[in-house]
Amino acid sequence: MKPAFNMREALLGAVPSLRAFGISLTGDVDRADDLVQDTLLRALANVDRFEPGTNLNAWLFTILRNLFHSEYRKRRREVEDADGSYAATLRTAPDQHAHLDFEDLRTALARLPQDQREAVLLVGAQGFSYEDAANICGCAVGTIKSRVNRARKRLAELMHLVDADDLGTDGLTAAALQFYAGESGAGATI
């Protein structure tokens, strides 16, 4: 008899996006694979806590993100300049030809504060709803929206897609972005 829910296949199906998230988050493929491996191990150890039918991806991303943050806190004690160390890892990313096209984006992502980086990756790249992203990050939906908006604006500046002056006052920009966020709804395009 075939089980209704095959955890192994479900995990296997989640691995590519977990890796994409891990690599985008850390800028380091090896570190990302360590995170994914630990995520799988932890998921397997806690598999009875997962209810089939609920969002497996959100559960796995929560685990990976928590592992990343506890590791980050550990590393922070060792490395003073966390942003600098992240930027440095960009140079060592394997499979370089695959990333050249996105060099500007990766460099810009590296310069975002960590909370904004994860928010824009979860919503803008992975396509989670604001609600799922908020659950994954353990914060309010409004906080996620605000982080995504700030990340978007900062990425546009860093990638020279927009002249900072053209954005007008911060108030106007914030109001306009909020308007978009409200209108586009959960999980919509960034």
Partner: protein, 78 residues
């Protein structure tokens, strides 16, 4: 394409927020028209690049050590 501007934006700006009105479909726009709002263009571009980068990363082969790990799960479960 006239649309009402939310009061929130009008109040915040003190001037018409016309440039922030979302375009309904950029792909269908006449290219000879003035460039759509810088914000919208930048937003769309960032969104596209983020997703493209993500797809590119997700397409990479899964490392053997992760496959081995999941393979072990299959064995233990029988």
């Amino acid at each position: 394409m006239q649309r009402s501007i939310p009061a929130k934006i009008r109040r915040a700006s003190g001037r018409p927020a016309v440039s922030f009105i979302p375009q309904t479909d950029l792909a269908l726009r006449d290219p000879s028209l003035p460039t759509p709002t810088l914000d919208r263009t930048a937003r769309d571009r960032i969104g596209r690049e983020l997703r493209a980068m993500y797809v590119d990363l997700a397409r990479q082969p899964i490392p053997q050590r992760l496959l081995d790990l999941l393979g072990k799960l299959e064995e233990t479960k029988g």
